[in-house]
Symmetry: C2
Subunit: 322 residues, 2 copies
Amino acid sequence: MQLPNFADIEAAARRIAPFAVRTPLVESPALSARCGGRVFLKLESLQRTGSFKFRGACNRIALIPEVERQRGVVAFSSGNHAQGVAAAAGLFGVAATIVMPQDAPRAKIEGTRALGARIVSYDRQRDDREAIARRISEEQGATLVRPFDDAAVIAGQGTVGLEIAAEAPDVALVLAPCSGGGLVSGVALGLSRAGIKAVSVEVENYDGMRLSLAAGHRVKAPGGALSIADSLMAPLPGEIPFALAQGLLEPGLCVSDSELARAVSYAALQLKLIVEPGGAAALAALLAGRVDAGGRGIVVILSGSNCDFETMAEAVRRHPSP
Amino acid sequence: MQLPNFADIEAAARRIAPFAVRTPLVESPALSARCGGRVFLKLESLQRTGSFKFRGACNRIALIPEVERQRGVVAFSSGNHAQGVAAAAGLFGVAATIVMPQDAPRAKIEGTRALGARIVSYDRQRDDREAIARRISEEQGATLVRPFDDAAVIAGQGTVGLEIAAEAPDVALVLAPCSGGGLVSGVALGLSRAGIKAVSVEVENYDGMRLSLAAGHRVKAPGGALSIADSLMAPLPGEIPFALAQGLLEPGLCVSDSELARAVSYAALQLKLIVEPGGAAALAALLAGRVDAGGRGIVVILSGSNCDFETMAEAVRRHPSP
């Protein structure tokens, strides 16, 4: 198993710079007042394709040797990785096939199709998406772009941490939503030279990273009932993300679906930002009072914004005073 | 009549730096693809109090001599200036009285009250808000903080232009929503040394700046039917803004209510940003194809985000594919 290192993130930053948005890091006076210390938001919700996933996909695809790349790429994803891969493939002029669950948010399915990818649907409960993707990869010679268990993908996501370290040196903690762990482990590595700690935030029943960090080895979360955070439902952290995370992350946090909905509403009403439930996990942990930075600055990564409008509006209706 | 100059904007920038958010300037890949040139968004919608108005209010209040400032401030406003003044007064520890129309958006009335200001309501059709504010000023010795016809207020708004010039030197045009003209004239002055042009965008029937620029003297727009852009309903540009604008602005643009609603929907669905109708005027002009930067970069100022949630959701329902 090859772990990415700090230089890989620096190289990824140079590689993706012509394509990725250098997303804003902006202070929220409302959150700073509420938390008693400065709170900054890293707006990956404004990244190309509406989530951080574009960074990792772009770095990974850039690294495929030219002759292989022409045979296309394939990926399995509930949506954000799908759009990231589709957009990056489009920029490199190669065909992308995406294996997506039938019940993925309409915004994500349509977004992926609009980016020119071919979509193959599967049933989340019945089918094995990895097997479907592998078969396509073998038949077409397409390169499989994994969502998180890939050193180049993690290095791409780590550029988020590099940007935070460059712009906000006086913060103590960075909170990142976590599913398979690609974002938070990459960010932690990207922050490592700045002495800034990263914390993973998962959704209840899918808190594999939290359980694994506590146990010292990979532990599968119970899973079960679907969460409103369709992008956070990996029950087990990836091998590479976990190996990185073990040495770098603080103990993990998790939040409930109701706390996520409250955070989505707070983002819309107070921050004036549309954030998807999974992308609001770090904000949810902050609002729920799970984090104490001891008066020092905190960065909250808002990692994605690809929910159907109605999902966001429903959260606001349920939590009109979040 | 004392016009602000470039040095006034530089001084304002230093004065408000501890309080105002340096708002992000971020490229929108979706808009760049649509317009065939790079399009950047200046997110004043994320400014403290949800609009650029905080900048001017903060600069103006900072310049009131200490002994006068302790007698408080008074302002008349449909909402964004109200919140800007209330917040700035709060930061300087002085009392604020705001004269607001009864039909202002609930979000703005509540926002102003939450910032600690005393609110005096008036009827938009019947009462003279300036007279009410003047009476309060005379009775209490409070300083009247005008919304746009004030050199210090304009210098504060001009810091938006200064920030754009510092971060995006390779743009040709900056589009700014315009009501009384404080923002766009200040921005034009702030951009003047960078060789970047500013363009005002008003709403139909309230396009006093456009008419005045064309006529070469101040001309009152017809007004009449209320616009959904409650923040853009000044029929006549201020004297100082117009005097500045004459030498600096390109010919003015205007958009319809329906184009504003479409822009509000586009902001929510594509940009993932909540913008109020008036704050979306510049975006509306771009989406309606009124602007040609000849392939060079454009900056769109999203100037405010204080609409009731339902106003935004209604725009999305009416324009689901903006």
